[in-house]
Subunit: 499 residues, 2 copies
């Protein structure tokens, strides 16, 4: 394949005078809120990945579709890059602004347009919060399944852009599996409908292509999500283990036994202690690892699955097994897990949250590898993650005020991701690539694959004005970064071969 | 968006002398089986849609990946169009040859490379039959869920190309939902891996984009499919109704009651009688319509669902309700449905099988509309279909030997598809667009949407050598065909507004 635009290095983005953009917006977009002073722009200099900060040239806060359309037309005509932003909770810097670009904030599009219980969907604007959809559907016994930890704050437009996951995605799928239709505007401001009300749709699957494209192909203006009936019963099992490897092996055993839990999470000793100190969830603080396994569905089914999972966990060497006695205990078990990140924040000045996905069978080996990296670099690592789908979230603890610790933390993070790729996994599970992992994409994909991504990008946005410098690295960048690509099992890092 | 290649009308495809292609293949592809005589080419002149026939310039039957690669390189260098073909069971002419093109038959790639019960996947070559995968997985209690009616013959490569569905796709998803990874060759013969072993994968979702792309983006060379555990129990309910509208309404009621059946099929009186005469399934021949509803899962769950569905069906006005007493009766109930097409073939000289998908709630109105079209055009129409996902298969009965009947049948077919689009549905559920429905694509999509498809096609195949003239119509073709597009609910056919 050949790329249909010139590859530019990231520094060579167009730079249009701020005054010219302001004038064009004032002329063509009546009633638009535009922020342009240093003080007003400051709150938008980063998203949830605060390690990267850039002050944008301008921030625009449209309230109507025609305004978004006019903004895009202005930027397209002038050649100004556009970065879209929802709630700004993203953890990979996908909404990190560009100093020569406009930050397009979609937060004011926060209306739920329709909840249709008979056909089981909700039609919402992109700024609607993830949890607000489930709340609106609750009176009908329905909910929206994907549940990122940030679901109280994150918006559905951002969920689509990042293909967000969550605790329940093991059983119910990622964002892409829970969408029916997305309305977008192209870089030229043209409306386009992706997907359909029907189950199958002819033509190329643009809905799936767009989901997770991190603002590089268009701007989300409306989302139709599937709603599911709330499970009748949900039970949680807590299992303790005397080694992380055993807990990791148990995860694969559960799935292999034919059970798909509603959620299957793992925490190691460091995370357990931090969470217990903070939340008092009732976790066994001496365990090397715990698994939380939620089983949901109809009563009889859940009963059945519980028995099966208990047997598997016992056989896998669990030292303790506890079924939450009631809803209060179940909520407490989950509260510990859901607050594990802030809990770790209490025991360390800073932490760096990684996100990689590996085949379940590789869990024990990779956990061992992380422990070795932790010892080698002298930094503690807490493991809290969606074990069921192999989506790891190692938290690397460091103190930014100690010279060199941030750099060491980044090195450990990079090594962990390379380890994930080496065992057949990927460099992100649910946080996306954004700005943070753009170099690791050179490890994940070979140049043919990257070229294919660029060819598709060029089909939507040949001038590369939408969120440039994120998600898909230029071949030039990969060449500079060095040949990291692990192709067809040939590892450039012999030391990784033992995993 | 702008298309990145010149739009050519379909007649303007390159025409390279046959002798030149033969020589190049002989030189660059050692050991390749090439068919080139009129007699040898004849069996390949059509796929399952036998109404369209074209003798290809050449047929090639490679047995090794390097041969496929070399064939593509030869054709690319000479500018010869390539049409890929699996088992040739497709019903929309997706594998219809071109007289100036090479037909690339992938049938000899029929090895199952790996069945991995622990990680629940099978890795197979593209020519492996759909059913063969489930047979290979059966010893482990696993199976491959998508089950097109042609599953005994159709190949997985074709399933990927057409995003094939089947009876069980309501609950278990289409082909795209049951894939992990696909290896392809681009038009230039370059290998590309789409998807990953991990659940989520960074970059654009090329796997979903490719699935259902009908041979226009690349050639499938290897497929990794997900395997599911076989349900412990499966029960089938047969419900009879005194009107098709009532049966149609019952379908939406079942889903709205929170049950997702393993299969939910509908047949009308003409289909019931034809099937009963042929198979003796024990259907009530006086019923205007029957529903077959399969419920599968664990014992208690199925028991629960059966009760709920029985209540819904009674409330919806079912005149008779029968639960298959044993496995033999269950198999008999399904045999009638699965043989409905050949059964209709016994009562009519010819029939034209349509395939459209509509929102479930629209079923009663569309069934009424089909009955009116049937009366207006004087042609019988039998309805046999995947009711649960709104995927209709009206069979239009005609006799090709009666002058004008074929044309009338095509007119009725076209009207039915327009009706599907008008109620918010789509022109194909599972058979694909191929050659057959290329004009209806002009009704389904507006020019912006078609332009987007072409831009993506151009990213993969800028010279349009892969399966040209199928799936995505040129804007030129749509302009010639006439402006049929129904946009944002504005119907160009006022007579359809009543549905």
């Amino acid at each position: 394949m050949t790329i249909l635009y010139d590859e530019r290095v990231d520094g060579e983005l167009p730079r249009v005078p701020k005054q010219q953009v302001l004038q064009a917006l004032a002329r063509d977009v009546p009633g638009l809120t535009v922020l342009h002073t240093e003080e007003d722009l400051r709150p938008y200099e980063c998203d949830g990945l605060s390690a990267y900060r850039t002050t944008p040239m301008l921030v625009v806060l449209p309230e109507q579709l025609v305004q978004v359309q006019a903004i895009l037309k202005v930027c397209h005509a002038l050649g100004v890059p556009v970065v879209a932003r929802g709630a700004g909770t993203g953890l990979s810097g996908g909404a990190l602004p560009l100093e020569q670009g406009v930050l397009l904030v979609m937060a004011r599009f926060n209306r739920i347009l329709e909840v249709n219980p008979a056909q089981r969907y909700a039609r919402v604007q992109p700024g609607v919060r993830n949890l607000a959809i489930s709340q609106a559907a609750a009176p009908y016994g329905l909910y929206y399944a994907p549940d990122p930890s940030s679901q109280i704050a994150c918006s559905i437009g951002g969920n689509v852009a990042e293909n967000a996951g969550g605790v329940h995605c093991l059983k119910y799928g990622l964002t892409v599996h829970n969408l029916l239709k997305v309305e977008i505007l192209t870089v030229e401001g043209e409306p386009l409908t992706l997907g359909a009300d029907a189950l199958d749709c002819p033509g190329f699957d643009l809905l799936a292509l767009f989901t997770g494209s991190e603002g590089m192909l268009g701007i989300v203006t409306e989302v139709t999500v599937k709603l599911l009936p709330k499970p009748q019963v949900a039970k949680v099992l807590l299992a303790a283990f005397d080694s992380v490897e055993k807990a990791g092996a148990a995860v694969a055993d559960i799935i292999a036994a034919g059970v798909i839990p509603g959620g299957l999470e793992m925490m190691d000793n460091l995370a357990i202690r931090a969470a217990e100190d903070f939340i008092h969830a009732g976790y066994p603080v001496d365990a090397e690892a715990i698994l939380l396994c939620e089983l949901d569905g109809v009563e009889a089914d859940v009963h059945d699955d519980c028995e099966r999972v208990e047997n598997v966990l016992r056989a896998a060497g669990a030292t303790e097994l506890r079924l939450a006695r009631d809803e209060a205990e179940r909520t407490r078990f989950w509260a510990g897990r859901k607050n594990a990140f802030p809990a770790v924040g209490r025991i360390s000045a800073d932490y760096y949250c990684m996100d990689g996905t590996i085949p379940r069978r590789a869990l024990p080996g990779v956990l061992r590898g992380i422990a070795e990296l932790s010892a080698e670099y002298g930094l503690r690592v807490a493991n809290v993650f969606h074990a069921g789908d192999g989506n790891m979230h190692p938290l690397i603890l460091f103190d930014a005020n100690v010279p060199g610790e941030l750099e060491r933390a980044e090195q450990v993070g990079g090594k962990i991701l390379e380890l994930c790729v080496a065992v057949g996994g990927s460099i992100t599970g649910e946080h996306g690539v954004g700005r943070e992992k753009i170099n690791q994409m050179c490890a994940q994909f070979n140049s043919d694959e990257l070229t294919c991504f660029h060819a598709i990008k060029a089909a939507f946005d040949p001038r590369r004005l939408l969120n440039p410098g994120k998600n898909i690295p230029t071949l030039h960048r990969c060449a500079e970064f060095g040949s990291m690509h692990i192709h067809h099992g040939q590892l450039p890092f012999p030391e990784l071969e033992r995993f």
